[in-house]
């Protein structure tokens, strides 16, 4: 699966995107796996209330299923307009 990061999430993790193989069933499980990887992930995902997630470019929730999902994006609340 493709992981995509924006704004300070991208800066903290140090990458705009990466491929990541996982058997996580939900976004929350995926986040737990990422946190366990390295300090920079633990830092980026330390407060989920400050984060939003999109699955295949649709805004979603952290308890959503990853079944069939190809692209997961993490970012802070949006500030368009």
């Amino acid at each position: 699966m493709e992981l995509v990061y924006f704004a300070w999430v991208r800066e903290r993790i140090g990458l705009p995107k990466e491929r990541f193989e996982t058997s996580a069933a939900t976004v929350n499980e995926l986040v737990d796996e990422l946190r366990a990887r390295e300090e920079r992930y633990a830092l980026a995902f330390s407060d989920l209330t400050a984060l939003r997630v999109a699955l295949d470019q649709e805004l979603s929730d952290f308890d959503a299923s990853l079944s069939g999902v190809r692209e997961v994006a993490f970012f802070p609340p949006m500030t368009g307009g």
């Binding site: 999109a54 802070p76 500030t79 368009g80 307009g81």
Partner: protein, 147 residues
């Protein structure tokens, strides 16, 4: 409906003109234009706008379609830029055309509220000694409850 996401500046005058000119059946056209504001100290050098290419277009289209469903609109235009903008530069515009002014006003107001909090853009303010991501405002999230 026209949705444009681009780095280049847009010509507000020409866009407003073209949009209004093609809607003879519509008596009311409302436009909103967002402009890079300087900070309180006047030290803003630039505003960097990042976006989620692909999702941006989808999100803007969905918001515009929702507006067309809710109000009696002849047309909707959304233009949003990304990249490196200077104070005073135009970030984005929306335009709505309707037979009735209330529909045009409400739809433009609705588009802006959803664009603020539901379109995947992020802004970073650059001054000579700082670079800071603009935080989303609780007010902006609360504004969505109006609709």
């Amino acid at each position: 409906m026209r949705i444009v996401v681009q780095e280049a500046p847009f010509d507000l005058g020409a866009e407003s003109d073209a949009f209004a000119a093609q809607h003879e059946g519509m008596g009311a056209v409302v436009t909103f234009t967002g402009i890079v504001r300087n900070n309180a100290e006047g030290t803003l050098q630039s505003m960097q706008i990042e976006h989620y290419s692909g999702m941006t277009e989808k999100a803007l289209t969905k918001i515009a379609e929702e507006a067309i469903k809710r109000w009696d609109l002849g047309d909707v235009l959304v233009i949003h830029r990304y990249g490196n903008l200077k104070p005073g530069e135009r970030i984005m515009m929306v335009a709505t055309a309707s037979k009735h002014r209330a529909d045009a006003f409400q739809a433009a107001d609705f588009l802006m509220d959803f664009l603020k909090s539901r379109a995947p853009f992020w802004k970073k303010e650059i001054t000579s000694n700082s670079a800071e991501w603009v935080a989303a405002k609780d007010d902006d999230e609360d504004a969505l409850k109006r609709w």
